[in-house]
Symmetry: C2
Subunit: 212 residues, 2 copies
Amino acid sequence: MISKELKKKIDFIIELEKLKTINRENYTLDKNRKENSAEHSWHIAIMALLFEDEFQSTKIDFFKIVKMLLIHDIVEIDAGDTCLYNENLNKNKSYSETTAAQRIFGLLPKEKKDEFINLWNEFENRKTNEAIIAASIDNLQPLINHVVTAKDNYNPLNIKKSKVFEKKEFIKNASENLWQIAKQFIDIGVKKGLYINDTTYEKNTSDNFEQM
Amino acid sequence: MISKELKKKIDFIIELEKLKTINRENYTLDKNRKENSAEHSWHIAIMALLFEDEFQSTKIDFFKIVKMLLIHDIVEIDAGDTCLYNENLNKNKSYSETTAAQRIFGLLPKEKKDEFINLWNEFENRKTNEAIIAASIDNLQPLINHVVTAKDNYNPLNIKKSKVFEKKEFIKNASENLWQIAKQFIDIGVKKGLYINDTTYEKNTSDNFEQM
């Protein structure tokens, strides 16, 4: 006999298949195949394991970071993936993702639903150390992936370097090392023609990352 | 300045792109697209989070289970995915995967390389509670995925129900609940024509799962 609780978990596991069909803007090494949000989530979860020793603090719960990264895009099953640089699509993003979180995590037994919704909210709000680190890794991966998989001079949205900096420089609040990597891949992207080289812009951000 | 250690991690992150191009035998909900090992790894890592409360023991390190599941298929970048039911291909599997582990995890700084190789070996050897639970989840997911994504009567390898039982019944050593789910999805698979209904075979296995 399979309990009601287990049956709900199976329904959720089956629902997850759909995230493998949600494509992002970036590509994979497969010719002309776009990266989907499931394989992106796998990639960043491993990146978290790699960067664990960059943060020498017992206060940082890396299992929580990995959990956030594994589940953060599940809402896209309903809400779809909206490119960071598409401002119009992003205006309505918050509402539809919240609705999606309620429906999809709502498939789970109450305790697990609450756990996942709390993790997802914490990630979205970027207030805790864990959420800032997770969001930084989530934002670093596409910079690397894009350089590795995109064809030269591929920039259909005419993305400017200054815009990439604006969206990504919060990474320095998590880690100066991760930000160095991000900047390096933005520069390689500019050289490859993936971003318009409009400026050497780099504004200072206040450090809102808690002392560790 | 990006340190040598960080540079190695970036090389590994770039290498991981290749796992998104390693296809498994099963399909996705995308018409005619096979599931790749990266998205499979994501799926089972979340399943581990869902089943965490099935194992009410402080002795079980679920973060380790998630780590194992995230990295267990990385060796397929060199060794390829070999279907569980293809006995010929599986004969040479162990050697080539060990070679692959040395090369791919060898891209990492020594400490991280050792950590990942140890995790991978522990998973492959299926001796610890964590490895048995991880392997069970890794073996349960394709049973569910196959039922959800395969067309009716798709069985190109003429897989028999008795063979599926033989390969999967170790799951009961991890959890009777997970085994109940596995059996249910094998039965649905038989009804869908995905496995040949040759027997009602179910042999007893000794319980080699440590008492919890």
